[in-house]
């Protein structure tokens, strides 16, 4: 009876609780431990130095002669119990009636299965069966007859050489004696063959991962000229360069950057043109980067340029192999980063950022006209909004009376000060540009139309901004798109805000002071030892390698500020058919 009443009261309490109270649930919460909090994880408690120390202790350098031990080590290093794409193919290799245990290590998806089957496993496992002969037979290295006596130079049987020269019909096979080198190969898409009793492995090139095809450039479009662009694969990119350069003097050096990522980079230069000091400097900077990973050429650019505090780009980037080749022949160094379709060109000067890859393909008159237009575009992008603010606020006398009236009447209904107006419009434009880039491509143009036309028209109708300001912002925007280099254009767009503020604070005085400081900063910069404003400041070979494009027959000298080994790029009289 008592039990019944108790259970009833409990039930009633529960019912009431369920009805009135929020049911208590065991919600799952996850927080990463703070730096200061005590973590249960042992590895998290270790300092970076301790971790590196531990890694060093557990790191084995040389490959073990015993395959069993090597397999255990590989399993630990690659976490094969967890990692699903690491393939360890164990098999028996039969050579000269003797059998050896062997292992093939590769990553599924990175290596070409067909190549492995046909060119690695098949010769090692199948063809070898028919290759059974006397184990005492020795290899004849050379043979000669003297006084009717045949003299043979024989070499004792060597398993490594035998595998290398008889059993691996693959064009690119390297012997590696350390685990790190073997793992590098595997990570790059190769397969590595370990054979019992041999204290090294065979790194066999069987890369077969999917990659983008060579296509037309997306961001450096030209009308006259090649229509190929770099891709993500570094070897494809070097082959693109090789094809165009077509000279044995093109040197392509491999460098690895990143302690963990070991990203492959290549330093490309013409050994008979580029300055040895420049090459050494590029090599020095790239080899002295203590970072864990390098994922793009943009990251590398930031790591190797001289002045990292200012936003002025000091290294040229291109997705065009023809442009990179042109600079290689000019005595510059090109750096490629695996996984990135942009090449770095070093060193770069201010005039390079105003040049388009098309300039040298066009007649010099057209090219120079376009160059002057671009110079104008730079001036407009950098200064026009600032000068507009300065003139309307401080120097109205500069404007013709009719234009002044027109501006004043257009601003009559606008309640905001000019600085607010222009900042709103410039920031809106930047938003439209950013949104247009980020949204899926079918919507991109719509954003542009909605932003530019509808929003602009609406802003004018609502008297938030004046129509003349829309014109100023639009001209500035168009001018900014006429700058061939994206990074330089971005820098100018950023600097434009500084000049707007200076123009608002002190009119022409502010803009003038800003321009003075800006030019001095440009003059103080160096790109890999070359003054950024060369060849104008300091003046050196302006006529040959300046801003103005010379006719093809007059492009005789290479830029002397690069100190090239070959000073001239063509004879004094290049058109020998015309002038003897």
């Amino acid at each position: 009876m008592e039990n019944n009443s108790k259970s009833f009261s409990e039930k009633l309490t529960n019912q009431l609780n369920n009805f009135f109270n929020k049911s208590t649930q065991n919600e799952y919460h996850f927080d990463l431990p703070d730096d200061n909090s005590n973590s249960s994880s042992v590895s998290n408690n270790l300092s970076l130095e301790q971790m590196q120390e531990n890694e060093k202790i557990s790191e084995v350098k040389n490959i073990f002669p015993s395959l069993e031990v090597s397999i255990e080590y590989i399993k630990v290093k690659y976490n094969t119990l967890i990692n699903s794409d690491i393939i360890l193919r164990e098999f028996t290799l039969s050579v000269r009636n003797r059998q050896y245990k062997a292992l093939l290590l590769f990553i599924d998806g990175m290596a070409d299965s067909k190549l492995i089957n046909d060119n690695v496993l098949h010769p090692l496992m199948l063809r070898n069966r028919a290759n059974i002969y006397d184990g005492d037979q020795e290899q004849v290295v050379s043979e000669g007859v003297a006084n009717n006596i045949t003299v043979r130079r024989v070499k004792k049987f060597n398993l490594e050489n035998y595998i290398m020269s008889n059993l691996l019909p693959q064009n690119n096979v390297k012997k590696v004696d350390t685990f790190s080198a073997a793992f590098n190969g595997v990570n790059m898409g190769n397969c590595v063959l370990f054979v019992d009793t041999i204290p090294f492995a065979f790194d066999i090139d069987v890369k077969g991962f999917k990659q983008r095809e060579v296509s037309t450039p997306n961001n450096e479009i030209i009308i006259q000229g090649p229509q190929e662009a770099f891709v993500e694969n570094i070897r494809t990119n070097t082959s693109l360069l090789r094809r165009i350069v077509n000279s044995e003097n093109l040197v392509i050096e491999n460098v690895e950057v990143g302690k963990l990522s070991k990203t492959k980079c290549t330093i490309c230069y013409m050994s008979n043109i580029a300055s040895s000091d420049l090459i050494a400097e590029v090599r020095y900077r790239i080899n002295n980067l203590e970072i864990d990973s390098l994922l793009s050429s943009g990251e590398l650019e930031q790591l190797i340029e001289e002045n990292y505090t200012c936003s002025i780009p000091q290294v040229l980037m291109t997705e065009r192999p023809d442009k990179a080749t042109k600079y290689l022949y000019g005595g510059r160094v090109v750096v490629l980063v695996n996984g990135n379709p942009y090449a770095l060109i070093l060193p770069a000067t201010l005039t390079d950022f105003i040049s388009s890859p098309e300039d040298t393909n066009l007649r010099f008159q057209f090219a120079n006209f376009l160059k002057i237009l671009r110079l104008l575009a730079i001036g407009i992008t950098l200064l026009l909004p600032g000068l507009y603010v300065a003139i309307t606020d401080f120097h109205q006398e500069l404007l013709p009376t009719e234009l002044l009236f027109s501006i004043l009447s257009s601003r009559e209904n606008v309640p905001f000060p000019i600085i607010f107006e222009i900042l709103v419009m410039e920031i809106s434009f930047e938003l439209i540009r950013e949104a247009g880039l980020r949204v899926p491509s079918p919507i991109g143009p719509t954003i542009g139309i909605v932003g530019a036309l509808v929003l602009g028209q609406a802003a004018v109708s609502a008297s938030i901004v004046s129509p003349i300001l829309i014109i100023i912002v639009a001209i500035t925007a168009i001018a900014s798109f006429a700058i061939p280099d994206f990074a330089f254009g971005f820098h100018l767009r950023l600097m434009r805000f500084a000049f707007i503020l200076l123009g608002y604070i002190a009119g022409f005085f502010g803009v003038g002071i800003g321009l003075f400081v800006y030019v001095c900063i440009l003059c103080s910069l160096k790109s890999f030892g070359v003054p950024y404003t060369a060849p104008y400041a300091p003046i050196t070979g302006v006529g040959e390698n300046g801003f103005i494009v010379n006719p093809m027959w007059r492009r005789e000298k290479r830029a002397d500020f690069l100190d090239p080994k070959r000073k001239t790029s063509q004879d004094h009289i290049s058109m020998k058919w015309k002038y003897k």
């Binding site: 500069l398 009119g507 803009v511 400041a537």
Partner: protein, 379 residues
Amino acid sequence: MTEKKIGNIEAIAVVLTVMINHIILNLPKSIIGTTSSGSIINVIFVTLIAFIIVYLISQLLKSFPGLDILDISKFLGGKALKFIIGALFLCYSIFTISIVLRSFSETLKIIFFPRTPVQIIMLLFLLAIVFVNKLGFQAMARSNLFFTPIILFSILFIFVANFGNYTVQRVFPLLGNGAVSTFLSGVSNLFAFGGIAYLYFLPPHLKEQKDYTKIALSAIGISGVFLLMSVTTLLLLFPLLTSSEEILPLYLAARFIEFGRFFQRLDAVFVFTWIISMACYLSLALYFATDIFKKITNIQYSKWVIGLITSICFGIALIPQDLKQISFLENNVYKYIILILVIGVGLGILIFANIKHLILQKKKGLSVLPEEDKSYERS
């Protein structure tokens, strides 16, 4: 040291910047005030004298390649003389910076910012030149390669565009107040070439020492031509009475320029270029002042020297009460400082140092440059 070396054209631009800025300021007005309609002949005359002086300086400096006047003073009279000469040139530089800064800022205040305190304008200038000085001498010298042609073009443009407004009769009488005034007392107009002072400090900064004469004479020649242009413009444009107005004379000349009905007031554009030009000049003058201070105090790598010199300049620039006092300092005090210090003392040191050099050479029969000076050159 290599970061301080500049090429020949950069060096010409540096000297030109110093000289041209005085042309933009009140220099032509001061010359016309002294010699009235004889100014054109006077300018030609003083330019010729300046040529001779500069040629003399370059020849005297040949015995001391790569050394500036402070090193030469040390050679002549030891550390004490070096300190005295250094202190004099330091005072000259500080005085020039202060007066030019105040004078130009007052002009800007009158033209553009009537309600802004002149201190604010001066501070903006000083902030810019301190920042630029941190970037180094090479950056400043190289930036002059971009700005100097624009500034020269602005003077040329004012000269050419005002052709229609000239009254040629104003050049008469050709000798102005008389031959004595034009050729004798007019010699004091040599102060127009006050930039010669910086020629004494240029040798350690030159990549090519052998081109020093070429650099110096080119700079004097070009600035002489532009001085002549600006004096001619003012003389032919204004009656003598008007040209004594307390504002930039070239600015007044620029206001006369008209291109049809559309472009009627281009003067702001000229002021825009002159602001940049003035900033160039002030930054160079500050650099030389800092350099002199570092040399006489043996502080080579201190960061606070620029700030200290700038603060002193700012303080001194605030001393004059009004434009009249500034004008007095510019036209009288500045004029005689240049004549005494730059031409008199500077040349004197060089002449005596050369005599000492010759005597010692005759005695020893070999080069007698002091070891310390040579080490300075190397560093």
